[in-house]
């Protein structure tokens, strides 16, 4: 575990048992526009300003956010969810008030002075990120296939519909039939996958026409998403604020035109997916 420095912090002291949690960095945030917010672990959110940049921070206990504790807590889904929601809430409220660059979850500093120093030393990097996202929001689009297109079974009958792929050793003496069945199964699976990815590509092309940028996310675990239909698309789109209305109209039109697709649109999000980490600032 990192031993915190004993140098006095500017602003509220963090003391040896505390650390400073950084949510994000806003530009030109008018003082007083943010309501009193509680952040991770219910800690009050404070602001630290240097020049045009304002860091959103909370003081958190090292017992929970120290290196070892953090590693353990991040593996705890309940803790992770609570922390992620609190982190997101702070970033989203700041983003509604001023352009805000989110910082990855669980970015921690020894004290306020370290954060203020960061705002100065990385001002150019933050400015570059903020320039790209000012006046823009992220919207998420997930597309689900309502029903798999009916695939014709091979005329030979094949296994019972609910048998699934054969698992045990093949029945003796039926090697050729077994191999053919396997081949057919693979072909059907490949064909269905090809159709799905073509659909996803067409859909994405249409949506991307109405966006500034896009970023694909991996398909979601059905248990996390709570959806069992096949997810064929999961993309974040960066939209200029005045594009949002048109973009939403397009998603609705697609829903009407292609009944077997179900589109789920979420947003506006702070532009999490469009923070280029290649320009990651280094403290």
């Amino acid at each position: 575990m990192t031993t915190p420095a004993t140098t006095p912090a500017t602003g509220p002291a963090t003391g040896p048992a505390g650390a400073v949690y950084l949510y994000g960095v806003a530009r030109d945030l008018t003082p007083g526009t943010l309501p009193a917010l509680s952040g991770v672990g219910g800690a009050p959110v404070r602001t630290l300003t240097a020049g045009r940049l304002t860091a959103l921070v909370s003081t958190v206990p090292l017992a929970e956010y120290g290196e070892a504790a953090l590693r353990e807590n991040l593996e705890d889904l309940a803790w992770l969810e609570e922390t992620a929601r609190a982190h997101h809430d702070v970033v989203a409220r700041a983003a509604a008030a001023a352009p805000t660059a989110p910082v990855r979850i669980a970015t921690l500093y020894r004290d306020d002075a370290r954060v203020t120093a960061l705002l100065g030393s990385e001002a150019a990097a933050f400015a570059a990120v903020l320039d790209r996202i000012t006046g823009r929001s992220e919207w998420g689009v997930k597309a689900y296939l309502r029903k798999e297109p009916v695939t014709t079974r091979d005329p030979g009958g094949g296994p019972a519909p609910d048998a699934g792929p054969p698992t045990g050793p093949p029945p003796a003496g039926q090697g050729t039939a077994y191999l053919r069945r396997r081949q057919d199964e693979r072909r059907r699976t490949d064909e269905a996958a090809r159709r799905r990815s073509q659909r996803a590509a067409d859909l994405h092309a249409e949506l991307a026409d109405h966006a500034v940028a896009s970023r694909h996310h991996p398909p979601q675990d059905p248990r996390l998403s709570g959806r069992t239909q096949t997810q064929i698309l999961n993309v974040a789109y960066l939209l200029d604020d005045d594009q949002a209305e048109g973009f939403l109209a397009v998603t609705r039109a697609i829903g009407d035109r292609v009944p077997e697709l179900e589109l789920e649109v979420t947003g506006p999000w702070p532009p999490y997916s469009f923070i280029d980490t290649a320009e990651a600032a280094r403290a």
Partner: protein
Amino acid sequence: MSEISWAGGRSPAQRMSGERQSANLADLLERILDKGIVIVGDIRVNLLDIELLTIRLRLLVASVDRAREMGIDWWEHDPSLSSKARQKEVPAAEEDASLESMREENRLLRERLAALEAAASGKENAE
């Protein structure tokens, strides 16, 4: 900022909910864990740990078999998400190979049998 979430395509009537909803956990985690400015803080957590966690969350599906029945098997094709993707062809190849070797064995046994029969009948004729 109000957050809206709606499902399109429920024709004829679109469902549009204006009330603030808490974001779906999957949507949230894929944005907050993987994205955002990465700054090296004073307290360092190996980011690999976090990435492992997200991958584990994505794969932590008790219902994998059910998902597979429905054709949801994308993770099996992505080597970065699944070690199975790299091993996938091995069991099939082994099965195919064992069938092949059985056929070969059958062929050899038949040849041997034929040779023995021929030798036996040759002996009879000689006597």
